[in-house]
Subunit: 156 residues, 2 copies
């Protein structure tokens, strides 16, 4: 199984300049607006995206610290396996957020519910399709009952 | 915005050996069972994953063809922008599927609803959290009303 190279296709603009400013999850800040700017050479690939109300963004956690396979998270002081969390310090450092699509102007999408740091490298955009992606009945594991709270310090 | 290297963390086993065998989406084959095998050095990162009923898998489309930014898809003969589709031939070649977690034995997860080719490189596992990820009301764009059909030939 071989390694491969990822070349970002754009950049995400958000109001969150510092790590401490960024929310734990976009779902906790549904009204936060940001821009997803595709590099112009990829703009053609956005054709028909306006039909979708929600998009899945894949991006690079480019300011994350060292990977720890078992660790406390922003939402819980109990350590969990990294693959049972959405924490940034993970193998391959790829993040995923579902955002709402508000509008498009050429190669720039305006979205809400964004939770990434400003200038985060964009890796991919996928249309959110409820038939594939919506499982409201899914069990939330240790997330069940956890409420948003201020980020504990020193937790990256 | 810099490129970076991805090193797979495991391998996905499925009944689909040839491209023509693989379904268009896992949601169309909810009963298909496969295994997600994490390389043993990452096994510790699975702690507490059993509490989740659904997982998001990120994987490498390692047998996809050339990227075309606007193209017909498996479900539609009308061309769409690649970022408005889930087609494998996309910039950075990263796929996403939501699967149901059936069980775990050490570093191997058994899942259902798998749609990838056998021996697909695994990039990441994320817990599916309905509060973040379930948007049953989302608009499906051009997917609306499209039904599963045999894959058109020559469409990768």
């Amino acid at each position: 199984v071989k390694e491969f190279t990822v070349n970002p296709v754009g950049i995400i603009r958000s109001p969150f300049v510092k790590k401490d400013d960024a929310p734990i999850q976009g779902a906790f800040v549904p009204d936060t607006v940001g821009q997803v700017e595709l590099f112009s050479e990829f703009a053609e690939g956005l054709k028909d995206i306006e039909g979708f109300s929600h998009l899945i963004l894949l991006y690079r956690f480019d300011r994350a610290g060292e990977v720890e396979l078992v660790r406390p998270t922003f939402l819980d002081d109990v350590p969990h396996g990294i693959f049972a969390t959405r924490h940034p310090c993970r193998p391959n450092g790829i993040g995923l957020t579902v955002v709402r699509l508000l509008g498009r102007e050429e190669n720039v999408l305006t979205v809400s519910g964004i939770d990434v740091l400003d200038k985060t490298p964009l890796i991919d955009i996928k249309p959110y399709v409820p038939r594939f992606d919506a499982h409201p009945e899914a069990a939330s594991g240790w997330f069940a009952g956890k409420e948003p709270r201020p980020k504990p310090t020193g937790r990256e």
